[in-house]
């Protein structure tokens, strides 16, 4: 199962309301709908499966303990959920003194090719190796990685990402563009082992 689509926010809110009124099955539906996307977002962002599980657990339990029914009508459940997860991860990094996203500007200048749309022949050949996929993600600056993952696994629109990360929409757009460009370059050159396996 992948992340939720944009046409389910009202259903998510209704499920949450039902859960708050005692319907545990409603929570199970919400959980099944968002568990994969949220987990893969966290795993891709921190690059550590055990840390991702820890933050994932804290996020859902925080939701369970919270009495809130998502008071703001404009905030979608999905955005709210990812916001909680993001905050938990940032808290963890702060507690452990991890550096975040210091290479953003430098990296963008180095790989600045905003209009770099690959031709058809270049679009076909991307590495499928999980380790390379994760390594390529790890190679992205933190903010670009986050934008890409919110797009890929959270299935969020740019304005939603902007709101969640408290970043201007144009900045989000720019970061996504650079992220896509770099990932394409990193994944377009398959390793020799992959050549043999095809």
């Amino acid at each position: 199962m992948s992340a939720a689509t944009t046409d389910q926010p009202e259903n998510d809110a209704a499920l949450l309301r039902r859960y708050r009124r005692g319907d545990a099955d409603a929570f199970a539906v919400l959980y099944a709908r968002h568990r994969l996307g949220l987990f893969r977002f966290l795993a891709g962002l921190c690059g550590d499966a055990s840390l991702a599980e820890e933050i994932f657990q804290e996020t859902w339990l925080s939701l369970v303990r919270s009495a809130s029914e998502q008071q703001q009508a404009s905030v979608q459940f999905r955005s709210w959920l990812y916001q909680i997860a993001r905050n938990r991860l940032i808290d963890h990094w702060r507690k452990h003194g991890k550096r975040q996203g210091l290479q953003d500007v430098f990296d963008e200048q180095l790989h600045d090719s905003p209009a770099d749309e690959p031709g058809p022949e270049q679009q076909l050949d991307l590495s499928r190796d999980r380790q390379r996929l994760q390594a390529a993600l790890d190679d992205l600056p933190q903010e670009q990685r986050e934008v890409f993952l919110l797009r890929a696994h959270g299935d969020m629109e740019l304005h939603e990402i902007a709101e969640l990360t408290h970043t201007p929409a144009e900045t989000v757009k720019s970061r996504l563009r650079y992220a896509l460009s770099k990932l394409r370059r990193l994944l377009a050159d398959p390793a020799p082992t992959e050549e043999v396996c095809r």
């Binding site: 859960y19 708050r20 005692g22 199970a28 599980e53 996929l133 696994h153």
Partner: protein, 224 residues
Amino acid sequence: MNTPNPERLPAEQMLLEHYRAHETGQPSAELDAMILAAAREAVAPARPSLLARLRDLLRRPQRFALAFGSLASMALVLGLVLKGLPQEPSIDDRQVAPVLREELGESLAAKRKQELPRTAVPSPAPLNREAARMSAAPSVEALADQPAAAEIADVDAGYAPQSIRKPLVPPLISELDEVLSEVLQLREKGLDEEAQQLLQALREAHPQLDLDARLEQLQHPDGP
């Protein structure tokens, strides 16, 4: 499921799809179970207090309260009857034989006395011989007692009732039968638990009675 967004560039969409297709990480089954259990626990209704549970118990279905009320009323009636009214002679086979023995013994003893040969006043000469014979013979009372005892033994053997092993107070059999019939009806309706509770209460109230045998008789009046 993600549907392609027509506003996104094909290359972007392709890369997004590529990552989604080849990313296999997911939370462990244990983690899923733990989170779902926590969510369920958070909205589970609180266990009612002891007072609330007791109140609920007392408000249980009418049929149980009715059966219990009937039983309590009957126990009260039984207590009053046994304590207040004069005791009627109970039909007790163990008491019958001694009573009969006593009565029969007296009547037979009297009869024996009548049947014993009347001895005339003997002449002095034969009197000595008669006296000697009579002194050797058992006394009248002894003769009267022995056959009576033997006859009573025969009576005992012939009389011994076999049907009722334990006594029942005749006037209260109908009330007990009514309650036992209620037990049978509860069983027929599939209310085995209520039937068993009613029967157990009856057993505790009347430990000397063989209620199971009576139930069997009520269930099969014509015999097995």
